[in-house]
Structures are given as C-alpha cells and as structure tokens.
C-alpha cells in the first residue's frame, strides 16, 4: 500500500479540467511546462485522457450546467486520484459567487485534496501546492 502512494508521488500524471474558466488559470498551468518552471523534472506530465490521470486540476467556476458534467468526468478517473482546486473560482467561487448562474464551488461536487488559491495563482504557488499535497500524502502514510 505504501509503495502505491510512494510511486504515485513520484510520477503524477495531471489532467486539466476546465469548468468554464476565464482561462487565466489555464494559461498559468501551461506555464508550468515551460523551461522556466519545468514541472517534468518532478515526474509530472500532462496527459490527454481522464482515465490516465493521477491528479485532476480543476479550474473555473462551476456554473449550474457545468457541475453535473464535471462530476461525471471526475468519476471516470481511475482511483487513487487527487482532485486539486486551482484558482479562486474553483476554491470558493469568490468573484462570481452572487451570479445568477453560479451555485457551487468544487467542494460541493466532489472531495478535494488540495486548494491552490490565486487569481490566477502563480506557477510557484502551484508547485508549492503540489509539493504540499505530496508531503501530506507521505505524512499520512507514516501514521
């Protein structure tokens, strides 16, 4: 069991799920792959199908239409899979919270393992969030 989690922390395949965002967070995610931050040296890779995903980065505010489909897509990931809420909209629907079309933040839809706040969060903040998630998982193992 611990080998599972250990291997998982060394090779995280990330799926980017955009639930109607403004795309600022998405651009910052793509920045992580550029030479300046180069997240591949930690074994983190961006993959195309949600079934291959170990971590799902959810950006955007979940409006009434999107949250149903979002739940369906997240359920299709192979367990164990971490759900990471990226950006203020996914963490707490901060800016669009009082909109007529807005009802949920990611917490209401599925269990979230990490929150990375920011509008948009800097790539350094994202890396810090992922590292914190890895450390929390490893610490939970030691208990």
């Amino acid at each position: 069991m611990s080998l599972k989690i250990k291997a998982l922390t060394k090779s995280i395949w990330v799926f980017h799920l955009a639930a109607s965002p403004c795309n600022n967070c998405d651009i910052e995610i793509l920045d992580l792959l550029t030479p300046r931050w180069d997240i591949e040296r930690f074994g983190i890779q961006l993959i195309g199908s949600v079934r291959h995903a170990d971590a799902i980065l959810v950006t955007g505010s979940m409006n009434r239409k999107a949250h149903i489909r979002l739940k369906r897509v997240i359920e299709q990931a192979a367990k164990p899979c971490f759900v990471i809420a990226l950006g203020n909209c996914a963490c707490s629907m901060e800016m669009f919270g009082n909109s007529y079309n807005q009802m949920h933040c990611l917490d209401d839809v599925t269990e979230v393992h990490a929150y990375i706040a920011g509008c948009p969060p800097k790539p350094e903040a994202m890396i810090q969030g992922v590292v914190a998630l890895i450390q929390a998982q490893l610490a939970a193992l030691k208990k």
Binding site: D38, I47, A78
Partner: protein, 311 residues
C-alpha cells in the same frame, strides 16, 4: 534447444528488453527536455511510471468486450518478448538459429500494433476506434517499403533468410550498409522504424486524438502499464533488429570492441529518433500514406535493384 533453455531465453529477453527499453524511453524524454532548454525527468522515471500504473485500478468501460479489452496488452507484450528472445539467441549463438527466423521476426513485430488496434476497438469509444482505424492505415503505409528494404541485406548475404547467417556473413564480408544500396536501404529503414514506433511525425493514429488519448483513451492501471511497457520494449527491439540486418556489429565474438560500437550505434539511433521527433510536425494520415507509398517506395525498389546488381 530444451524447454528450460527456451524459458531462460524468454526471461532473459524480457528483462533485457524491459531494462534497455526503459532507458531508451528516459533517453528520449531527457533529450527532448534538453532540446527545449529544460531539465527533464530523473533516470528512474519510467520505472516510477510503470510501478505507479500497476498500483492504479483498471477501469473496464461498460460496453467494452471485457476479455479483448484486458488481454490486448498481453498480445503485444508477448510478441515483443519473443522477438527479444530470438534476437538474444542470435546474438549469443549466431550459428544455431532456425530457417526463416527473419520472417518470424518481421511478422511478430507487427503484432504490437495489432494489439493496439484490438484494444482500441474493444474499448467501445468512438475516439478509440478512430485511433484504431488510423493505426491500421499506418501499418499499411510503412510495411511496404520496410519489407522491400529488408530484402537488401538478404540479397547481399547471398539470399539466406536465417538472421544468424546474415549476421555472420557481415562479420566476414563487411556490413551491408557499406554500399550504395545499403545506405539507401538503411535510411529508409530508419524512417519506417519511426513509423513503427509511432513517433512524430508519424504518430497520427495514436496522437491525432491524443488530445484525448487516441487508442489508449479508455485504458488505465496495469493494462495501460503493459501497453506502455510494450512501447518501450519496441524501442529496444526494432533498432537492434535493424542493427543486426545492416550493420552486423553485434558480433562480439570477434572482438569486444564490437560491443562498444554496438552500444554507441544504438544510442546514435535513439538520438536520431528523438531529434526527428522534436523537430517535426505531425503529419495527417493521408500525408503519411502518400509519403510512404509515393515517395519512399520507389527508393526502396531502387535499393533492391542496386543490391541485385551487386552495388
């Protein structure tokens, strides 16, 4: 050759192919990262990827045919292991291979692609079927020039189709690549290898819909891990096969310098694959067919004719 010996060769072939294949995959990713001015993954990254995949759950889609879906990766893995074992035996005992093993190797090397097709159609997903149908077209495209250029070392070695005899012939008479027909044939074989390994620019079947995963879209866990392992093992087996046919530098019984040269040439071929992969855009499937049939095949035919004429 006894059963124990056979099992030994299969196990040895599998282990060598897996280890060298993982190294080849890491090499590809590392050189890609370097070319893009990045750092790239650590050396054991493919191993971490594989172990992690073994630990994830295998999800079988509801409409999929369960048996085919789960067994398709095994077909590819089995075929690659057998080829690796055959090549290992040819390296160790070149004189004792069986008649027609060249044809067996060529035939077995198509099975991993067919396993991908089988798996993609068993997935009950329209995007996967699209990837599978493109894989079929890709096989049709590159097999033609590939088979033609494999004829060249056969002709040069005097018409034998024993792989061991081809290797031994080259040890005494010089490598098949040391001639005009050999050079043309080797270059065409390298390009066909790029397609066989499904690397850019020929990864249309597995990557056109890679935005969603292509043929592998519904796979997860150990099944996906076995597919990936097969891909990595092919990166060891196919260059080795080409080296045996054209360069014959595997004959380590002559002098152990040959072994060093063999390793260097293998790394050179890996470098070729990676650099071509990094500097090219992906081709559409109709462009791929036109490229292989209209542009490469005439040169392959030319190479065969030149080989007949002794050049």
């Amino acid at each position: 050759m006894g059963v124990i010996q056979g099992i030994g060769y299969l196990a040895g072939g599998f282990i060598v192919a897996a280890v060298v294949g993982m190294f080849a995959h890491w090499f590809d990713r590392k050189i890609t990262a370097r070319v893009q001015w990045r750092v790239g993954p650590p050396l054991f990254q493919p191993l971490y990827d594989f172990v992690k995949l073994l630990a994830k759950e295998v999800v079988v889609p509801e409409g999929a045919s369960r048996f085919l879906f789960l067994s398709a990766p095994l077909f590819g893995l089995a075929a690659t292991t057998v080829v690796s074992a055959l090549l290992l035996r040819t390296v160790i005992v070149p004189g004792d291979t069986f008649l027609g093993d060249l044809i067996v190797v060529i035939y077995l090397l198509t099975i991993p692609s067919q396993a991908v097709i089988l798996g993609s159609f068993a997935s009950a997903n329209p995007l996967a079927s699209l990837g599978g149908s493109r894989e079929m077209k890709l096989i049709l495209s590159y097999e033609l020039p590939f088979l033609l250029v494999v004829l060249v070392p056969v002709i040069k070695a005097g018409g034998t189709i024993r792989l061991g005899e081809i290797v031994q012939y080259q040890a005494t008479h010089g490598a098949a690549i040391a001639s005009i027909s050999g050079v043309i044939a080797f270059l065409i074989a390298l390009i066909c290898m790029q397609a066989k390994l499904a690397k850019v620019p020929f990864d249309a079947p597995e990557a056109e819909t890679e935005i969603m995963g292509g043929a592998y879209i519904e796979y997860s866990g150990a099944a996906l891990g076995l597919f990936k392992l097969t891909q990595w093992m092919m990166m060891y087996v196919v260059p080795l096969f080409l080296m045996m046919l054209f360069i014959g530098a595997i004959n380590w019984r002559q002098t152990w310098w040959n072994l060093v040269f063999a390793v260097l040439i293998y790394i050179g071929i890996l470098l070729f694959i990676t650099l071509v992969r990094n500097t090219n855009a992906r081709l559409r499937i109709d462009q791929i067919m036109k490229f292989f049939w209209a542009r490469l095949t005439p040169f392959a035919v030319l190479a065969v004719i030149l080989a007949f004429l002794g050049l």
